[in-house]
């Protein structure tokens, strides 16, 4: 953008961890439940309760820390962060402050063909707050009263903070996409920005090109999609440049992204300067993961996307484009590999998975492990194409039938008579009909235009509803016309 300035961005992201129960109590984390049905004395902050740390949440965060090349701290401590807000029933949020779970990692991103590392400052665990519904207004401003649902209170969140290594809104967007993919891939978070299971706030500042000192930053909030990250930061970057060009000063403040007008709006809060009065949460003792525990978690991590992509390229010689789509969903990549074990035609399998199967999954909002198609069934169908028993078109119908009904491939073929015609008499009859119905093309063929045979083969295929074997049809046509 404005070559006069360099943009500096750091991101604070929050990812909801895939646990069954909350961070410090046994309430459900289920999204979309009736208001205030997943609450208990612990998460609503009743006096005298005792919170206990969810082991799975720690493990998922450690798993992430390993994947993000972080150092797992020998000791991490939960702390109380105090502030007053109606979505926070305890009047403090349990978070980690001085001693986070992990520090010092990086994520590699690729922007416009250029790879670069974005530093990760820290990863820590905390609890989510409740959800506010503002009465009589879409936003908090202008709302007369608000309603509070504490179902989300206490849901485990992992905060991932980057170094100010990001140099453009586009890089910020790519970072978020890369992080989403990684979190989904390692199975720690479903990472849907629109649903709020992955969120991000950004700190943005501009400085004259070549300057090493950071300029005054603003914090941008309310970015609920990758597009919003890009648009919000572009708008904020432009605003900073305009203020600075006019000789003005940037006010350090929090700004909200207005996604309708694609601008950021400063939000005056009656809250005075933050004074969170952090102190160690006395009810939760330190977390000190030992080497063995970390190793066990490391072993559940499996292959990371980049390594998998490289291996797929080497082992299966898949084109880069196909490879990328396949790897973008770990479940599909696993399904692919399991199918290859039954039938060694990687490219054919990959194309079916990212083509017709992916289309069905999108349409039905399902993942590949939630459908009645198995690697065994897919390989069975594809083998039938490969050995000429069925055509690609019939294979697709069988596939949809398997997906829709869960029947076996053999049953569908038997029921619908879908195998290729093995009875020569039947085929001879169809060939006869085709010759009778296409006198013009038959004349052309007889006068020496050999390529017309393909048209006639096509007619046989059509008349047999794809059940004729193309080379057999051609053989019989030539015999009849010769």
């Amino acid at each position: 953008m404005h070559s006069k300035y360099e943009t500096v961005i750091g991101l604070e992201t929050h990812a909801q961890l895939l646990t069954e129960s909350k961070m410090f109590c046994s309430c459900s984390t289920k999204f979309g439940s009736k208001p205030n049905t997943n609450i208990c004395p612990v998460c609503t902050g009743q006096p005298g309760v005792l919170p206990v740390i969810n082991k799975k949440a720690i493990e998922l965060a450690i798993k992430t820390a390993i994947a993000l090349n972080c150092r797992i701290e020998k000791m991490s401590v939960f702390a109380r962060k105090h502030y007053f807000y109606p979505d926070l029933p305890k009047d403090f949020q349990v978070s980690q402050y001085e001693l986070p779970l992990a520090t010092g990692g990086f994520v590699e991103i690729e922007v416009e063909g250029k790879k670069q590392k974005i530093g990760i400052t820290r990863i820590h665990l905390e609890e989510d707050a409740g959800k506010l519904v503002h009465k009589g207004a879409a936003r908090i401003m202008g709302a007369g009263e608000s309603l509070v649902d504490y179902n989300r209170t206490g849901v485990p969140l992992m905060e991932i903070v980057t170094e100010p290594d990001i140099r453009s809104p586009l890089e910020a967007k790519v970072f978020m996409e890369t992080l989403q993919h990684l979190l989904q891939f390692i199975g720690v978070c479903d990472a849907k920005m629109e649903e709020g299971s992955l969120r991000c706030d950004a700190n943005l500042s501009l400085r004259p090109a070549g300057e090493t000192k950071l300029g005054t930053k603003t914090e941008v909030k309310n970015m609920n999609s990758f597009r919003a990250v890009l648009k919000a930061l572009e708008a904020e970057e432009k605003r900073h440049a305009e203020v600075l060009n006019e000789g003005g000063k940037i006010l350090q403040e929090t700004r909200f992204f207005d996604d309708i007008n694609e601008t950021t709006i400063g939000m005056r809060s009656k809250e005075f300067a933050h004074d969170y009065r952090y102190f160690p949460e006395p009810d939760l003792v330190p977390v000190e993961p030992d080497h063995q525990w970390i190793e066990t978690i490391k072993n559940t991590l499996g292959e990371l996307p980049e390594a998998k992509s490289e291996r797929f390229f080497n082992e299966y010689s898949l084109a880069a484009g196909i490879n990328k789509i396949l790897i973008s969903d770990k479940l599909k990549a696993d399904f692919f590999e399991r199918t290859v074990k039954h039938f060694n035609k990687p490219e054919m399998i990959a194309n079916w998975i990212i083509g017709d199967i992916a289309a069905y999954l999108n349409e039905n909002k399902k993942s590949i492990n939630e459908i009645s198609l198995t690697p065994e069934k897919l390989s069975e169908i594809l083998k039938l194409i490969d050995n000429g028993t069925i055509t690609g078109k019939i294979a697709k119908n069988i596939l949809l039938e398997v997906l829709g009904t869960g029947k076996t491939v053999q049953d569908i073929i038997k029921e619908q008579g879908l195998t290729q015609i093995s009875d020569e008499g039947e085929l001879v009859k169809i060939v006869g009909d085709v010759i009778k119905n296409n006198p013009k093309q038959v004349d052309e063929f007889k006068s020496g235009k050999d390529t017309v045979i393909m048209f006639l083969v096509g007619q046989v295929m059509k008349a047999s509803k794809g059940r004729a074997k193309p080379d057999k049809a051609q053989e019989l046509l030539r015999k009849a016309l010769g």
Partner: protein, 92 residues
């Protein structure tokens, strides 16, 4: 030891009378002065502790158990609407 009682009261959302400010100011100062005693001890070679008990990794398995008496929690809502806590205007 001087304490900004008004600031602390505001952080805790407490409205104090002048008398109370004076009383709590003195009491808080005495508490802090008492805690100052610790600074007289040589602690250079002692690792900082965050907890008074020598325990670590007290964890629970990730199992969901619904709380059976949610009504007892909802009863604390000064006002309730659509099974949610109704709160007054948040932003001015």
């Amino acid at each position: 030891m001087k304490i900004d009682v008004e600031h602390i009261a505001r952080l805790a959302r407490l409205g104090l009378s002048d008398e109370e400010k004076k009383l709590y100011g003195e009491q808080l100062s005495r508490i802090l002065e008492y805690a100052e005693t610790l600074n007289k001890l040589p602690t250079e070679n002692i690792a900082p502790t965050t907890h008074a008990i020598p325990m670590k990794n007290v964890l629970r398995e990730d199992r969901m158990v619904p709380f059976p008496d949610i009504e007892a929690i909802m009863i604390n809502a000064p006002q309730e609407e659509s099974n949610m806590f109704l709160v007054p205007r948040i932003m001015e």
